[in-house]
């Protein structure tokens, strides 16, 4: 027997003073966080240099629960904020962790352009196929014929095929897993963290309170068992063929893994050529020139603009 029970390693990357979380019983978001935490810890990345950026929604709360630099931004706009962070301080590992409504509906435009530009961001899109936080409205990923609060007679819009969209936009790493695939997801997240460029992982996750319940699909556990049963791993499948069909196969796996120079590499290449290596990018965190005679240097505040 052990004298001291070891601590759960996940807790080292959590703001444990904010747990229990707001997520419902059987919500899969927390499960994905375990995979992410494990991947992060194994990666060896300096945790002081990890920035988590989220938008609004249940999945958007992830950044707040993680013990990193956390940015809870506006609805749909985590990706442009993350772009600014990364470009101004390339040493940061910038992760965007948010939901399907946030990233692919309101945030769709930014998702496409960041992938196109191949900004070095690690995007985890938690797809619970609903706008959960606001009470269960239909999203661009809500399966056809689902009942939601804004589609009370059943939705008749087709769902977005996210991996296909990201593939077409130019993402260099595209994968899909479900919350059931905890180990495979961890591995994928680890690969994404190591890969330079825009990486995209969709994780299909249960929303028991709104999506599952309103569509008579049981609870979170029922969803997880359903994912286990309906998932089919097809690494390298053409992304045009991985659309989520209600009641059909859930195609999971790593679909795209290619190398393309990321935005900053291209920028430095061009500026280097143009400015003949005179170009050295100002990096983030550079200390401004301190004036030893300046009273504001001691952090005292209250400096007027004329000494």
């Amino acid at each position: 027997m052990l004298d001291v029970i070891p601590a759960n390693p996940v807790e080292s990357v959590l703001r444990t003073d904010r747990i229990p979380t707001i997520w419902c019983p059987g919500c899969g978001i927390g499960t994905t966080v375990n995979s992410f935490a494990a991947a992060l810890l194994t990666s060896g990345i300096d945790l002081n240099k990890v920035a988590m950026v989220s938008g609004i929604g249940c999945s958007g709360r992830v950044s707040g629960y993680m013990n990193t630099d956390s940015f809870h931004t506006t609805h749909g706009r985590a990706i442009p904020f993350a772009t600014g962070l990364k470009l101004a301080n390339p040493e940061l590992t910038v992760v965007v962790y948010s939901g399907d409504g946030d990233l692919a509906s309101i945030g769709g435009n930014h998702l496409i352009h960041a992938a196109r530009r191949n900004i070095d961001l690690k995007v985890v899109l938690v797809n619970n196929m609903i706008y959960a936080m606001t009470g269960g409205q239909a999203a661009a990923t809500t399966p056809h014929a689902s009942t939601s609060t804004t589609t009370p007679y059943g939705s008749f819009e087709p769902e977005l095929n996210l991996p296909h969209l990201m593939d077409a936009a130019g993402a260099c790493y595209v994968a899909r897993w479900t919350a059931f695939h905890v180990k495979q997801l961890e591995k994928s997240m680890g690969e994404a963290l190591k890969k330079k460029g825009f990486t995209f992982i969709e994780v299909v996750t249960p929303c028991p309170t709104l999506y599952q319940r309103r569509n008579n699909l049981g609870d979170g556990l029922d969803a997880m068992k359903d994912y286990k049963q309906r998932s089919k791993i097809k690494h390298g499948a053409p992304t045009s063929e991985v659309a989520l069909i209600p009641g059909g196969e859930i195609v999971v796996g790593k679909f795209v893994d290619r190398d393309r120079p990321d935005y900053l590499t291209l920028l430095r290449q061009q500026y280097g050529e143009r400015f003949h290596e005179d170009y050295t990018q100002v990096s983030g965190g550079e200390d401004f020139q301190e004036d030893p005679n300046c009273c504001a240097s001691d952090g005292g505040g209250g400096c007027s603009t004329s000494c």
């Binding site: 027997m1 052990l2 029970i5 070891p6 759960n8 996940v10 807790e11 959590l14 747990i19 229990p20 979380t21 997520w23 419902c24 019983p25 059987g26 919500c27 899969g28 978001i29 927390g30 499960t31 966080v33 375990n34 995979s35 494990a38 059931f180 905890v182 180990k183 961890e186 609870d219 979170g220 556990l221 997880m224 068992k225």
Partner: protein
């Protein structure tokens, strides 16, 4: 010899049942007891089957449980 064990933070549990379902050796079951929030947390029903694989911990959305390996007795010399 028992290869692993679990640690549970009872008050974090929301009784979702993921750990019970996905433990590969069916170590856990939902307890008839309640925590202060009214949920049934899991309890160990097959302790000697636990390998400390931590799949329960990986599945738990509320960071309420995790598994860990127990140190094994050294093999006897010459065995």
């Amino acid at each position: 010899m028992i290869r692993g064990s679990i640690a549970l933070t009872v008050e974090r549990c929301k009784g979702c049942g993921f750990c019970v379902e996905f433990c590969p050796t069916k170590v856990l079951a939902l307890s008839p007891a309640f925590n202060t929030k009214g949920y049934h947390p899991p309890h160990v029903v097959n302790a000697d089957k636990c390998s400390g694989c931590n799949l329960c911990g990986m599945y738990c959305p509320d960071f309420a449980i995790f598994g860990y390996r127990l140190p094994q007795a050294p093999k006897e010399a010459g065995a």
